[in-house]
Every structure is written in structure tokens, then in C-alpha cells.
């Protein structure tokens, strides 16, 4: 009989305390974002050779392990970027569609009103009211173009601001990961580095993947290497690269570019994540749809102005341009005077090709169209079904009615929204799966911890009993032995 038993009990009590502490810490952090559950790892203490054979000397607390699965992290990080990119882009396109006001408040209904006003005008070409209503509707259509263009431009500007915020966040994250983690952790004794710091680093890396789609590898020297499309974003000891969104050459679409830490020329990379979603929305989607809108505005402007020039105003002259401006952003009425609408047929001089001069008029005034001549007004109304040259086409190129061109744009945008939504849905499914798998592995299960609490409490109690038992035995040996005959 020796005192070993006391120490065996002590080691058990210490192990039980470590177990209780870890379980309490797990429970306390059950809802802490990014927390990785911990587990105390025990091993049996070495034994000594008693005369009867080896006898164990209790338990050793080996380690408080952080139950992190690098494979699940990698799976999460590779899926979260695509999901975020699709989500951001889909939100942008949905906003664009909402701002276009279709189908109730957008161009499609305003254009319909315009054709109706023109037809009424052709039925009663001399009436001021019908002329006024044509100009009003034309003004409304121009205003709707301008309104949609302005709303889209504003959305683009806002989103570009968001893109810059994200860029700033990405570069800040890289700097933080370099200065506060890679530099500090390089070759440090990991036993002295708390698991909390690693959780914090993993959270920053998660965020970086969500923003850019970057992948992470963990190095032997405790540092991390972050790569995007094969280009290093962060390496030790080189340091963080700088991420920019800029065109590769003048006139190119801005792309995500990585400037390596030592300089040496930026590389264009295929990113994903919020950064890519925003970049694609601002620099690819918006300009494309905006060009289409400009094209529509120009088509309408050309058709209306040409038609007005083909007719005669009250004094016999050619009609002036009704709309002016450069694209959808600033299309507007030239004049708000109802006299500028050319309702009548133009009478041309056969020789000069200019509006003919009245041979009977002493002052050499032009031949004027009769008051109720609505020939050109009718041609205006017929623009509804006229085949107009598509934007960017040369004379003789592809044509379609204005309504077809407009509905192609509306339906095209709707289709883009639709497909971006289903991409988001699919990417979200994958990302949710990865998130759940990780949460299931890294998260705290209250029930498990409860069981642990009970388990360690009991272990503690049992070990205390061990000590009491040894103590009582010793008591018998020390105090009760050898008192025979006292």
C-alpha cells in the first residue's frame, strides 16, 4: 500500500475538472459564430512495476482538441463564392427590372398611348387638342426613357460604390490576415496559441472566400496561403497582394486583377464571390442593357424625326426634329409648341427637291398644305406597325417593329433575371449543404455537452471516492495497526 492511489484519484479529479471546464465552455459558446467545439483528450498515465505487475497511475490530460475538419472548410469556401456572386448579380438584375416599371408603368404602356394619340391626331389633324396630346405623349415617352436610364445609372453608381467597399474589405482582410495572423503565428508554439485565435482566422478566411471565391491552404509553419484562380493573394513571408478592379488595357471591360506584393505587374484572374458578382453587374450587365435602351431611344428618335421631316408644317416647310438628345439618358422634346408637328403632305419642287414655292404668291411663300390634311399624321400613326432598322444596323439591315424591339429588351431582361435567380437557387443549395455539414461537424450539440457534464461530474465524484477510500485505508494502516493490548 502506498500513496500512489491518492495521486491516481487526483489525476482523475483534474481530468474531470478539465472535462467540465471544456463542456461548460462549449455550452457557453454554443451560439458563438465561427466557434469550433473542443474536446479534452485523455490518455492513461504511465504505469509502475509493482511486485504484482504493472499498475497504472491515473489519467493524463493530453490536449484540448479543436475539432475542425479542413476538408469541410474547403468545401464550404469553394461553394460560398459562387453562391454569393450569383446572389449579388441576381439582386442587381431584379432591381433593374423593377426600376424599368414593366409591365404597368414602363415604356411598353407609354408607347401604346403614343400610338393611340398619333392615330387620334391623324383622324383630326387640325385640332389643337389632338396635337397637344401627341406632344404630351411623346414627352412622356422621352421622360420614361430618361427616368429608366437615370434610375439604372443611379443603381450602377450605388453598386459601384458597393464594389469599392467590397474591394476595400478584401484588401483589409488580406492585410489583417498577413499582419495579425501569418506574421504572428509563423513558427509559433501552437500549444500557446489559443483555439480562439484560429477560429477568428477561419472566420476571416470564410469572409474572404465569400467575397472573392479564394481558396485557402494551411502550411506547416502555421501560416495560411490564399489563392485566387492560381494567383497568390496572400503568402508568407511575401505578404498580401493588392486586389483591384481595372481594365486590362484601355477600353477593355474592367476585370478583377491581382497586383503581387513585390509589384511586377497585375494579373487578370477569374474571381467569384460578391466581388465578381458586383463587378459583372456594374461593368457587364448594366452597360449591355443600357446600350440596348440607348439603341431603342435612338431608333424611336430617328423614326419620329424622319417622319416629321417627311411632312409639312402649316407654312409648308419641312417639319423640324421633334426629339433630340444622345441616347436614352437625355432624349427630350425639342419644342413644346404644337406647331412643330408636321401633319400635312410635303409638296416638293421637282427641280430643287426643296419645299415648293407658291407660284401665285407675290412674296414667294411656300405652298402650304390644306388645314385638315393629315397625310403625314397618318404616316406617324403607321410607325406603330412600321419595320424600323435595329440599332447599329446599316441601311438595309435587320428591321423589326418598335414594339418587337422593345418587348425583346423587356423579355431579355426578364430572362436574365430568371436565369440568375435559378443559378442563385442552385448555388445556394450547394452552399447551404456545405454550411450545414460544417455546422454539424464544428458546432456544439447541447445534448452531447449535457451528457459530458453528467459524465465528468460522475467521474469527479468517483475519483473523490477513490481518494477517500485510499485515505481510509491509510487511516486503518497508520492509526489502527499495532495497538494490540494498548
Amino acid at each position: 500500500m502506498s500513496f500512489v492511489g491518492l495521486y491516481t484519484g487526483l489525476s482523475g479529479i483534474r481530468a474531470g475538472q478539465a472535462g467540465l471546464d471544456t463542456a461548460s465552455n462549449n455550452i457557453a459558446n454554443a451560439n458563438t459564430p465561427g466557434y469550433t467545439r473542443q474536446r479534452v483528450e485523455f490518455s492513461a498515465a504511465h504505469s509502475f512495476n509493482s511486485p504484482y505487475g504493472p499498475v497504472g497511475t491515473g489519467v493524463t490530460v493530453e490536449d484540448v482538441a479543436r475539432l475542425r475538419d479542413g476538408f469541410l472548410d474547403a468545401r464550404y469556401r469553394s461553394s460560398v463564392g459562387d453562391g454569393a456572386a450569383a446572389q449579388v448579380r441576381s439582386e442587381f438584375l431584379t432591381s433593374m427590372e423593377r426600376l424599368s416599371g414593366e409591365p404597368e408603368l414602363g415604356l411598353s404602356s407609354k408607347i401604346g398611348e403614343l400610338w393611340a394619340a398619333m392615330e387620334d391626331w391623324s383622324n383630326d389633324p387640325a385640332a389643337d387638342a389632338s396635337r397637344r396630346s401627341v406632344l404630351n405623349e411623346l414627352g412622356t415617352v422621352a421622360e420614361t426613357f430618361r427616368g429608366t436610364a437615370a434610375a439604372w445609372d443611379q443603381l450602377g453608381a450605388d453598386t459601384e460604390g458597393q464594389l469599392n467597399v467590397v474591394l476595400g474589405e478584401v484588401n483589409d482582410l488580406l492585410t489583417t490576415l498577413h499582419e495579425d495572423f501569418n506574421v504572428q503565428l509563423a513558427n509559433a508554439d501552437m500549444d500557446r496559441v489559443g483555439p480562439g485565435l484560429l477560429d477568428q482566422r477561419d472566420q476571416l478566411l470564410d469572409r474572404l472566400s465569400e467575397l472573392t471565391g479564394a481558396t485557402v491552404s494551411y502550411n506547416e509553419d502555421n501560416t495560411v496561403t490564399v489563392e485566387l484562380d492560381g494567383q497568390a493573394l496572400l503568402d508568407h513571408p511575401a505578404g498580401p497582394a493588392e486586389v483591384t478592379v481595372a481594365p486590362e488595357a484601355d477600353g477593355d471591360t474592367p476585370a478583377v486583377r491581382i497586383e503581387p506584393p513585390g509589384g511586377g505587374g497585375a494579373q487578370t484572374v477569374a474571381a467569384s464571390g460578391e466581388l465578381e458578382g458586383l463587378r459583372r453587374a456594374v461593368h457587364e450587365d448594366l452597360p449591355a442593357w443600357r446600350d440596348q435602351l440607348d439603341g431603342l431611344a435612338t431608333t424611336l428618335m430617328t423614326a419620329i424625326n424622319e417622319q416629321n421631316a417627311a411632312g409639312a408644317v402649316a407654312n409648308g416647310a419641312r417639319g423640324d426634329a421633334l426629339l433630340e438628345g444622345d441616347g436614352a439618358g437625355d432624349i427630350r422634346l425639342v419644342s413644346n409648341d404644337i406647331g412643330v408637328l408636321a401633319a400635312g403632305a410635303l409638296q416638293l419642287d421637282e427641280v430643287t427637291g426643296e419645299p415648293a414655292i407658291d407660284p401665285d404668291d407675290p412674296d414667294g411663300a411656300r405652298l402650304t398644305p390644306p388645314t385638315h390634311d393629315g397625310t403625314n399624321a397618318r404616316a406617324f400613326a403607321d410607325l406603330r406597325t412600321a419595320q424600323l432598322l435595329r440599332p447599329g444596323e446599316d441601311e438595309g439591315g435587320a428591321t423589326a417593329t418598335f414594339e418587337t424591339q422593345l418587348s425583346e429588351q423587356i423579355v431579355g431582361l426578364a430572362g436574365a433575371v430568371r436565369s440568375s435567380e435559378s443559378t442563385t437557387e442552385a448555388a445556394r443549395g450547394v452552399a447551404t449543404g456545405a454550411t450545414l455539414a460544417r455546422a454539424s461537424q464544428h458546432g456544439v450539440s447541447i445534448d452531447e455537452e449535457m451528457v459530458d457534464l453528467v459524465r465528468f461530474q460522475r467521474a469527479l465524484e468517483a475519483n473523490a471516492r477513490v481518494m477517500t477510500t485510499v485515505d481510509q485505508t491509510l487511516d486503518v494502516l497508520v492509526n489502527r495497526v499495532g495497538i494490540v493490548g494498548r
Binding site: 387620334d120 387640325a126 390644306p370 445534448d447
Partner: protein, 311 residues
């Protein structure tokens, strides 16, 4: 798979969100009565609904054009009918003028012929909603005494005032109305056309005035010769009436077509856009029950843990 509290929360929120989204969608569909609230809800349907709407707008406009055209045509028809009966009366009078030798009767015939001529001028200058009915594109009277550059009346060889037509005989102004995407029909005739401004014997009004003078002067041969001119005039008015009548027929059948097509388009639009209310209510009920069930399940599943049962 370990079910940790994070898993429970993440998954519950995800399901709740999905349920709520579906519930909200059926609610707004039912509240607005529309399946397509924005084009991306159904791009193909939105495309069809836009073209159907455009077609409906066009048909509605055609119906307006047709109503307007009917007004013109009916007015022109009744005016030409009375011009026709006046012309026939003039012919009857001329037959009398060619036979009666009593100067009193001849004078009475002449007076009535002049009255008929004036009446025809009146008919030719009728207006329809502020516009001259037989004046083509012009404003003002279709038939006026001609004046020269100095404003003096122009007289013919017999010293009678010459009439000016606006528009002139060689310019048949076409007042058109669109009655379908491809059809435009003429709804007018000009005074020069139905009064025969380019007739060898002169226009009907001037001719009647001349005839009245001849009959008053007892020139029965001129009266007899005038009968063929009057027959020609009646034929001309008849032809114009027939034009107006056939235009009326086309407009009426176009109206029937536009009405039919509008009805079909409305049905089609409703099929594309509108929610079947019974189905919508069922759907909403299902979503509501689903949402409530999810909530129930959550409230049952989330709170208890082993902690509640251990002492």
C-alpha cells in the same frame, strides 16, 4: 450526422424562409389577381401578354376610328340622299320646263331650280364636327363663288358667276380611317366629285342656274338638252352614294371583326395573366397550412434539450 444547435437553427430558418416565400407569393397573386407581377415571373407569358395588350390597344383604337368613320359616312350618306332627291326634283321641273309654254309657269320653274341650286350649295358646304363634310383636307366652304386676285367675282362668258371648288376637281382629297392593321378606307367624297366640277356642261349648281335662266327665257330646246346632263348628274351622285354605302359596309364588318377579336384577345390575356381564383384560394390555404405546420414543428423541436430532463 450530428445535429448541433447551429444545424437546427440554420435548417429551421431555411425551411421557414422557403415556406414564407411561397406563402407570400400565393398571397400577392391572389390579392392582385395576376400571375405575372413582373416580367421575370414568366418571361414567355410576359412577352405574349405584351403583344396581346398591344393588339387590344390597336383594336380599341380601330373601334374608335370606326365610330368616327360611321359618323362621317352616315352624315355624307344622308346629305347625298337629299342631294339626289333635289336633283330628281330638278329633272322633273326640267321636263315641265321643256313642255310648258306659260311664262308664269316657266318663271316658277326657274325660281325653284335656282332654289335647288342654292340648296345644293348648302349641302356641299355642310360641316361635320367643325370640318367641311365635302371639303377634303380644306377648311371653310367647299363651294364658293370664284374670285380673282383683286377679290372681284369671276364671271363666265354668259356673265354668270363661276364657282370655285376647294379642293378642286383634279385633287380628290382622301380622308382615311384605319379599320384594321392593314386596311385604311376612304370615308369622304368631295363636293367637286359629286357636283361634277369637271363635267363638260359645268358643275351641277352652275348648270342648274344656267338652265333656270334658259327656261325663264323660254328656251325649251336647252331644257330638253339639259335632261341628259341632269341624268348624268344623278348617276354621278348615285355612284358617290354607292361608294359611301360600300365604305359603310366595310366599316360595319370591320367593327364586327374588331369586336370579335377584342373578345378573343381579352380571353387570351386573362388566360395568360389572371389567377384562377378557386385555385389561388386553394393554393393559399395549402401554403398557410404548410407555414403553420412548419412553425408548429419548430416550436416543438427547438426548445427541449437534454437539460430539461436531467436533474
Amino acid at each position: 450526422m450530428r445535429v448541433t444547435s447551429e444545424v437546427l437553427v440554420t435548417r429551421s430558418l431555411d425551411r421557414l424562409n422557403t415556406r414564407l416565400k411561397a406563402y407570400e407569393r400565393s398571397q400577392s397573386e391572389l390579392a392582385t389577381g395576376k400571375k405575372i407581377l413582373k416580367p421575370s415571373d414568366d418571361p414567355g407569358g410576359a412577352n405574349r401578354s405584351m403583344s396581346v395588350r398591344a393588339a387590344m390597344r390597336a383594336r380599341n383604337q380601330e373601334l374608335r376610328n370606326i365610330n368616327d368613320a360611321m359618323g362621317w359616312l352616315n352624315n355624307a350618306d344622308s346629305q347625298l340622299q337629299s342631294a339626289m332627291s333635289r336633283t330628281q326634283r330638278a329633272r322633273d321641273l326640267t321636263v315641265d320646263g321643256a313642255t310648258l309654254k306659260d311664262p308664269g309657269a316657266q318663271r316658277a320653274i326657274a325660281t325653284e331650280l335656282r332654289a335647288i341650286a342654292d340648296e345644293l350649295v348648302g349641302i356641299a358646304n355642310t360641316t361635320h364636327i367643325g370640318r367641311p363634310l365635302f371639303g377634303g383636307y380644306s377648311d371653310g366652304d367647299a363651294v364658293t363663288p370664284a374670285v380673282d386676285a383683286d377679290g372681284d367675282p369671276v364671271l363666265d362668258d354668259d356673265g354668270r358667276p363661276v364657282l370655285a371648288f376647294d379642293p378642286p376637281a383634279d385633287q380628290a382629297d382622301q380622308v382615311l380611317r384605319r379599320i384594321s392593321d392593314t386596311e385604311q378606307i376612304r370615308i369622304n367624297t368631295t363636293a367637286a366629285e359629286w357636283l361634277g366640277a369637271d363635267d363638260d356642261a359645268g358643275d351641277l349648281v352652275s348648270f342648274l342656274r344656267g338652265l333656270a335662266d334658259d327656261i325663264e327665257a323660254g328656251d325649251q330646246e336647252a331644257a330638253t338638252a339639259g335632261l341628259t346632263v341632269l341624268d348624268r348628274a344623278a348617276d354621278r351622285i348615285g355612284a358617290n352614294l354607292a361608294d359611301i354605302g360600300s365604305a359603310t359596309n366595310r366599316v360595319e364588318s370591320a367593327k364586327a371583326r374588331a369586336d370579335d377579336s377584342l373578345f378573343a384577345l381579352r380571353t387570351e390575356l386573362s388566360n395568360i395573366e389572371d389567377v384562377d381564383v378557386a385555385e389561388g384560394i386553394m393554393e393559399l390555404q395549402i401554403q398557410e397550412v404548410g407555414y403553420q405546420a412548419t412553425l408548429q414543428a419548430l416550436s416543438k423541436a427547438l426548445p427541449p434539450s437534454l437539460g430539461s430532463f436531467l436533474r
